[in-house]
């Protein structure tokens, strides 16, 4: 996951590599995601969240749809 200057730069980067663009979104959305995704990592008895829990976080910050499904099924 990278930060690009503009959407135009994303598409140019993808074209040069002959790959489809993935998902493009704003930094504010990423900040909301970043604020919760790892917020339990300093807990002694941390366990990786379940797929359902992780999916709920993505949904809650507005990252939903097929691209954001954590399982292919």
């Amino acid at each position: 996951m990278s930060l690009f200057r503009s959407e135009e730069d994303v598409h140019a980067w993808c074209e040069e590599r002959q790959r489809a663009a993935g998902a493009i979104f704003d930094v504010a959305t990423l900040w909301r995601l970043a604020a919760v995704w790892y917020d339990d990592r300093l807990d002694l008895n941390w366990k990786r969240r379940t797929i359902g829990e992780r999916q709920a976080i993505l949904d809650a910050v507005g990252l939903s749809g097929p691209f954001w499904r954590l399982t292919s099924s």
């Binding site: 996951m1 990278s2 930060l3 690009f4 200057r5 503009s6 959407e7 730069d9 994303v10 140019a12 980067w13 993808c14 040069e16 790959r19 663009a21 993935g22 998902a23 493009i24 979104f25 704003d26 930094v27 504010a28 959305t29 990423l30 900040w31 995601l33 970043a34 604020a35 919760v36 995704w37 790892y38 917020d39 990592r41 300093l42 807990d43 002694l44 008895n45 941390w46 366990k47 990786r48 993505l58 097929p66 691209f67 954001w68 499904r69 954590l70 399982t71 292919s72």
Partner: protein, 156 residues
């Protein structure tokens, strides 16, 4: 009659995992196997066994392939990356822009994540203060669908 809660001692794996994170936070780099062994009073072989379990069983960190050296304890990177996180006089590397911001969020720190646009090479930075974005440049691109993130964690 009330039942007294019994506190179950945390496992060595849990304690070691947390210590690795605290080492990243306080020392700004991953600890070596030798440092971990010294801290916990165990052998290097025992440390390597724990690190292997933390990677393969707990999905708690990523080791540099073919080694027992830490590569990632998400959101921290043990190796230099293009996502430099600065807060005061401390500096870390994030694995990506997501992880860079997550380091500031996890630690509740003001700071800046610096990177460069992969296409234009233009320097870009995102600043956080008081748990709020203050100065934002650019747009985020993730190339890999979520279902495939862990196929190659080094590229998303």
């Amino acid at each position: 009659m009330r039942t007294r809660a019994v506190e179950v001692p945390s496992s060595l794996d849990a304690q070691l995992r947390l210590w690795i994170y605290r080492h990243f936070v306080e020392v700004c780099r991953a600890p070596s196997v030798i440092e971990i062994a010294s801290r916990f009073g165990i052998t290097s072989k025992e440390v390597e066994e724990v690190l292997g379990r933390l990677e393969k069983e707990a999905d708690a960190l990523v080791l540099i392939p073919g080694t027992r050296n830490i590569w990632m304890a998400e959101p921290f990177s043990a190796v230099p990356t293009s996502f430099v996180v600065r807060s005061g006089n401390r500096q870390w590397w994030g694995n990506c822009i997501w992880d860079g911001l997550a380091i500031l969020a996890l630690l509740g720190l003001d700071g800046t994540v610096s990177t460069a646009c992969p296409q234009s090479a233009m320097p870009l930075a995102v600043t956080v203060a008081d748990r709020t974005l203050k100065d934002v440049q650019g747009v985020v691109h993730i190339a890999v669908p979520a279902a495939d993130w862990w196929c190659d964690i080094g590229f998303t």
